[in-house]
């Protein structure tokens, strides 16, 4: 066994891969070989580090040096200076890793220091394609402990007492679910993993599968032991090619090492699993639709009950959990109930992974204890709002959730507090909005998504969301009437009450919550015909300010010839003729044209 003095970890998450981290890896390997360091320095491709904003990311151990936004031509300097001569290349370090001339390791950077990583523990630390690295950091020990020291009932007891709740959205107690599936009668049962992550802006499940696929395999085996099942299926969307590939490699390796298959660890327990690819329909994240899709049927939900725990896949009892939920389980087994309960709040124990996006400095993945105030996530970890803009609201739970305003920034985040605010945890997408975002337009954006993704089985969702979208479009185009707001509210409540599945039941949430907190913006659109945030183009007019030098460029590009003015004199726009194409604004070299 060769021991290396230094490890170069290169992020292989989807974000960094799309900024060419695979080429970086080759370049590192190439140059390390050239310098004859290949027996001393190891290059490892890992999963997502979480700080996607700073990608592609390279970490050099044992120092823990945190290099960010590394380009191909920077590699030589790192190899020459750091790996050969031992001098950290300061100019390439992440900006948060240098303070008062002292260099911080990755663990000391604010973004990481303020997090608590359980589900993402191994992401960015191990190679997801090497089962030994997972085993080195206690991998499969939780399964080994359960199989040798605990009865299935005891495993379920631990999960129940830990207070773990489903991380996929609704926060249903996981132990209870396991208990239902264990009690269900049937000679054959299935363990399913819901990796059909569909919220725009959420990518935690993808990152776990890409960075630590074995944690999901281990947890599903544990679930199999607990409920009496020997077969698992992971339902993952084909849009996640890296996740699918790494999960398949992990399954193969686990089989090879006897950690999946017959007689696992000599205990007589059999468990195996397979991947099922989805085509990326949002509705397939709903459990009954997901089951239909695995069966080869069209992905549509059905009525509940019967619940999947009693009649699931092929009418057999099935346990279905989300990726992040599973990723917590091996460590709960290993470290115990008290440890897990010591993190988070009384009713929501443990941590939650959030995908931070939108108007925020540090776009990426963060894992924090439940009960952390929103302010800490957005300002301390997320780095605040870029360009000195004012925070307006944050959308949690994607198209099924709602917005939370500045007044509630100090609310501790957990399942129940978010519901109380009219939003929901959802899978953990957090889209931050600043003063430039129009809330009516945001509601329209999410409705547009749900209309597209509605499966069409039930009328309220199929027709209702379509009608809501039409009203919202009308409002943002300046054709809305005062009654539209009430109509919208009535429709939203009806759809919520009468839809068949979670998709329809939650689709009106973005509208209801923006109506609750930003009704004045809706009213400005329909009564005053203005958009306070300056987003809805149809409600805005172009003006030429006195910055105009009279160069005539705007007049020449205007397709409707509505700009007049003499050379070297301030021009003006005839707003009656203007078609609001914005060509003049783009053409103006003096930034003299504004929208108001």
């Amino acid at each position: 066994m060769n021991i290396y003095r230094s490890h170069v970890l290169i992020c292989g998450g989807t974000g960094c891969t799309s900024s060419k981290s695979d080429k970086l890896q080759k370049e590192f390997q190439n140059l390390i070989q050239k310098k004859d360091l290949d027996k001393e320095v190891k290059v490892v491709r890992t999963g997502c580090f979480g700080l996607c904003e700073a990608g592609p990311i390279v970490i050099v151990y044992p120092e823990g040096s945190f290099y960010s936004q590394i380009k191909l031509e920077d590699v030589e300097e790192i190899v020459e200076e750091h790996l050969l001569k031992g001098v950290v290349v300061k100019r390439l370090l992440y900006k948060g890793a240098i303070s008062e001339e002292a260099i911080k390791s990755i663990y000391e950077v604010d973004f990481y220091k303020k997090q608590e990583r359980i589900a993402l523990k191994n992401c960015g630390v191990i190679s997801p394609e090497d089962i030994y690295e997972y085993i080195a950091f206690d991998g499969y020990m939780g399964l080994a402990k359960a199989l040798t020291e605990m009865s299935p009932e005891e495993v379920i007891k631990v999960v129940t007492e830990s207070g773990l709740r489903g991380r996929g959205g609704a926060g249903f107690p996981t132990g209870l679910k396991w208990n239902f599936a264990a009690k269900a009668t049937g000679n054959e049962k299935y363990v399913l993993c819901n990796a059909d992550e569909g919220d725009p802006g959420a990518f935690m499940d993808r990152s776990i599968l890409e960075g630590d696929p074995h944690s999901v395999i281990e947890a599903m085996s544990l679930a199999g032991y607990a409920i009496g099942s020997n077969q698992g299926y992971v339902y993952v969307r084909a849009e996640y090619p890296i996740a699918v590939q790494r999960l398949q490699i992990a399954i193969n390796q686990a089989r090879e090492k006897g950690l999946l298959g017959k007689n696992i660890l000599g205990t007589g327990f059999d468990f195996d699993m397979e991947i099922r690819l989805g085509a990326g329909a949002f509705v397939c994240g709903e459990e009954t639709a997901l089951i239909a899709s695995i069966e080869g049927e069209r992905g549509m939900p059905r009525n509940k009950p019967p619940f999947p725990a009693n009649k699931g896949l092929w009418q057999k009892p099935s346990l279905i959990n989300n990726v992040e939920t599973y990723a917590n389980i091996p460590q709960i087994m290993l470290k115990g109930v008290d440890w897990f309960k010591s993190i988070g709040t009384e009713k929501s124990s443990g941590t939650k992974v959030f995908a931070l996006g939108g108007k925020i400095e540090n776009t990426g993945l963060v894992e924090i204890p439940m009960g952390t105030p929103l302010r800490k996530v957005i300002y301390d970890i997320g780095g605040g709002i870029p360009n000195g803009k004012e925070f307006k609201a944050v959308q949690t739970g994607g198209p099924s959730g709602g917005c939370i305003t500045a007044d509630h920034l100090d609310t501790p985040i957990d399942f129940d507090s978010l519901v109380a605010l009219g939003s929901m945890m959802g899978s953990g997408g957090m889209i931050v909005m600043d003063e430039d975002n129009c809330m009516v337009d945001i509601a329209r954006f999410f409705l547009d998504f749900t209309v597209e993704e509605s499966c069409g089985k039930c009328n309220p969702c199929r027709e209702g969301t379509q009608r809501m979208l039409e009203i919202l479009e009308r409002i943002t185009e300046g054709k809305g009437e005062v009654e539209d707001i009430d109509k919208l509210e009535r429709l939203a409540k009806t759809i919520k009450d009468t839809s068949l599945c979670g998709l329809g039941q939650t689709a009106p949430n973005p509208v209801l919550s923006t109506l609750k907190y930003f009704r004045h913006e809706y009213e400005a659109h329909v009564i005053d015909k203005t958009c306070p945030a300056g987003q809805c183009k149809a409600l805005l007019d172009y003006f030429i300010t006195d910055k105009c030098k009279g160069c005539t460029k705007c007049a020449r590009v205007c397709p409707s010839s509505c700009i007049t003015g003499k050379v070297k004199e301030i021009h003006s726009i005839n707003n009656k003729l203007c078609i609001k194409c914005g060509a003049c604004m783009e053409a103006c070299p003096f930034d003299a044209i504004i929208l108001k």
Binding site: M1, I3, Y4, R5, S6, H7, L9, E40, Y61, P62, E63, G64, L84, K85, G86, V87, S105, Y107, V125, I126, Y132, E133, I135, A136, F137, D138, G139, Y140, M141, A144, L147, T148, K257, G258, L259, L265, G266
Partner: protein, 122 residues
Amino acid sequence: MKSIEELRKVKEESLKRINLRKDREEGTRIVVSMDTCGIAAGARSILMSLLDEVNKRDLKDVTVTQTGCIGACNLEPVFEVYKPGEEKVTYVHMTLEKAKQVMEEHIINGKIVQEYTIGSNQ
């Protein structure tokens, strides 16, 4: 893997390979000066031999890292030992044999090898 014992063994062995990625604030750090002059004087083989010893003896709380020139080029190869609660000790004019001796006497048994320190060699 056929048993939990086997899994434990695999774990112990694998951990040695990637132990250096763990977040550690305690423990001993050996820092080898690896600039151009150090490398020319043979610092690389010393670095590798230290690593080898750490691994062979399974010293989990010892990390071996490198640094740039410390400015004492005539004293190369040089390495520094940082133990918690102790002053930094700088060893100079190192050879493979001397490095091994430092490993045994200082790193493991906590007794500084005075004759090789920078103070005795200036």
